[in-house]
Amino acid sequence: MNDNAGAASDPGRPPSVPPPVSSTCASTPRNQYETAFYAGTGEVLTPESVEELSDLVREAHAHSKPVIPEGAGSHAYLGVPPRDEALLISTRRLDTVLRYEPDDFTIGVQAGLPLVRLGEVLKKNRQEVPVDFSSRTSGTVGGWVAAGFPGPRAGNHGGLRNYMIGARGLRGGRRPADFKTGGMVVKNVAGYDVGKFLIGSLGTAGPILEVNFKLRALPDRRSLRLAAFRHEREAWSFAAHLRGARFRPVVLLVFGGKAAAELQDRLPPLASPHHWVAWGFEGNASVVDWQNAQVDHVLDERAPLDFLDLPLDGVPSVMDSLCEFSEPDPDRSPPVDLGIARLGALPTETEQLERALYSLPESERASFATLADALTGLITLRWVAAGEGLTDAVPRLQALASSQRSSAVILYLPPADRRDWPYSLVRDATWPLAEKIRRVFDPEDLFCPGRKLPIGGS
């Protein structure tokens, strides 16, 4: 018999009030990013069951306290940080592989499963979700979905929206309720595709509890090559050729500014101050070899300054670096002099957008490093500056994105500056509708209010 039951049976004692779930739930200290960006929160609560997590959300709602759902907290810097004290709830202990059908190429996992473990489990059967993440990440599956990052192979394989076939989430309100969408079959149109709304939601549509993926076989062969050109135009011309030809590059990136230097730890030859293009093929050996041979002919004509054919075992490490380009170093304190943004254009407009970036004042562009995905039109920009110089670039990026009709999001700014800028630098007429829909998941506006869209959606 528990204490409460004892109290209830003793009419002489006042009924005891059960302690708040947040005080009994296991917890863990915040990491340095959580500490910096979630200033008003306590420790990270780590419920061990969906029921406990629901109780925490219910408690938060009862006290009108914002909730920050998260996985491992590896991307705490994403979006606008909470203004008020919030309950920081991690799904990291919900980390089970629930259903894995290798023969059917599907898997269902709890959201707290570390991404690295997901990769390991799938690799045993030579399978993958072909959306890249760094093998050095501490992130979880749920965080991956909530962040919705496109990987370097997005131009060919698409993003998580193309592989997530089911999900379970927790809806807020006075009576938090878990809901499911989709299932474990690769083709399914029963009901609304609610899961799509969770991808890239940054936790604002509530905690993600489970995710199902359809899988692909790992390719037999992968190649990743780089060539350096004297002039930027030559690099872009080469990339345009690869994009327009009958090849099927799975990676096609143009390095701009100091990008090569940023990656020199992994690729020492790239320290040379030239314009590099990276491209990759995958598939069976015949098709990869054939494509590489075709590109060799093109390279013969274009005479690059330098050429690097990565050994097979060197590819994963470089892919890690390419993934990490859009993130601050997780092993160091949150940098106070770094900005990271991502802009999106049409593939044929990417070169023009990049050129526009490098036409910003010398004082700002001097530190620019860009990775432009010539297949998707996404440009990831890193820049470094001290003090106000760092954020001086933001309104210029905003103006540039508006004039170029591109999207622009801030992926990272130091904690002291982050709240001054919205996640998206470009206003969008769909925001009020999106906010109306989001409020279905979060009627009382307690899940990371304002993190992704301005509060109220306008």
Partner: protein, 493 residues
Amino acid sequence: MLFPHRKRADSPNSVDVTGQPSPYLELMESIPPERLVTDPGELCVYECDGFPLHKERPGAVILCESREDVIQIVRWCHEKGIPFVPRGAGTGLSGGATPVPGGVVIDLNRMRRIVRVDVENGYAIVEPGVVNLRITDAAAPAGFHYAPDPSSQKACTIGGNVAENAGGPHCLKYGMTTDHILGLEVVLPDGEVIRLGGPRAEGAGYDLVGLFVGTEGTFGVVTEVTVKLLPSPQSVRTYLAIFDSMSLACRTVSAITREGVEPAALEVLDQLTIRAVEASVYAAGYPQNAAAVLLVEIDGLEAGLDEPEATIRRICEENRVVEFRVAKDEADRQRLWRGRKGAFGALGRINTDLYVLDGVVPRTRLEETLEVFYAIADRHRLTLSNVFHAGDGNLHPNISYDGRDADERSRVLLAGREILTACVRAGGSISGEHGIGVEKMEFMPLLFTADDLALQKDLRAAVDGRGLANPGKIFPDCRSCVEVGGEHRAVPL
């Protein structure tokens, strides 16, 4: 004033069934007669789509020619509180375009402009009434195509494809409609126009395009669609594997999946279907004594195709394939596909009516599920054929019946329910590509709990507070909930 134009003469439909003045009198004042259908005889055409088991008579059909037409009609409906149903070619198989009795049907077939084709950036912008295949026709000269290819692609429209999140044989490799829609222009149920997504790389907002695709017209009327165009494959190889047992055909499919081979399409036809096809104008040279044929297609760069071909051939041989034919040229390939794509039409030869079901199971459970289907048909004394997208576990059990026979009709409905229940029990779903419509509303609780459905209904209410956009679809009404409530069970995600 709607549609500036000439006036219309009196219509036989100027009063409604209760003898009250029809609300459409106002429309008659303002819409050109050739674009407003109110004649009861003409309205019959719109009573159902490709799901004839449920028919309703609309009050009026408006043949829209532009976004402005749609906006004005939707605003008028919103103002008057009149429900509306968007409709494309009416080829849907779940009753998604079944009219609301007395409501408006917004016909989009005349909105068939291909606004832009930009192959360099891999997209096209089209109006909703553009026929699926016309998009590929427009992009093909530049070496591109639009990948989703429902069997009805010569007739079905892209607006309907978006509404139902349509599939097709090549979705096995290339994904469903939702994977190929980059942007939408939608007239919301209150008449507001909104643009979602677009051809440029990711925006910063939520994936509203992904959420809107497959909402079956309940989130408004799509007036423009931005679709993804893909480079056409350099090479395509098509095979016909002939089996003397359906089980062996299914095992072959499972083995191909297990090996990680990624065919562009993997289709199975059973014997009854083969015979119907071969007796029809779609005859493809399938052997009529075969228990099943497996149509396999691989595509990509020529240099990469020998290996998957060898693997597929080996797996077929391991599963005692009777014959493994290779399409020797494009004409041969087209002929093999003609049989598959015309199969549903050919099945019309068997009886007066055809109920095309649509369920999904994990690909490893095809064999056992089909056995259950055949047993169900036997028990209900019904004629069952199967033609399906085996590679993604998407089954199409087809029941041929005489709709004039009330008893047979009721047995068809019972069997349909049992078949879909069997799909769910096998870990699958009640629809792979046809949508829920009116056909499967009552089966939704087989898959979803009350909380799951409440969320979806609330999403609908957030977009369509008055419930005027295609009401009576997807969600079981309260009565249905009660009826099927006893069957609620925890279905694993």
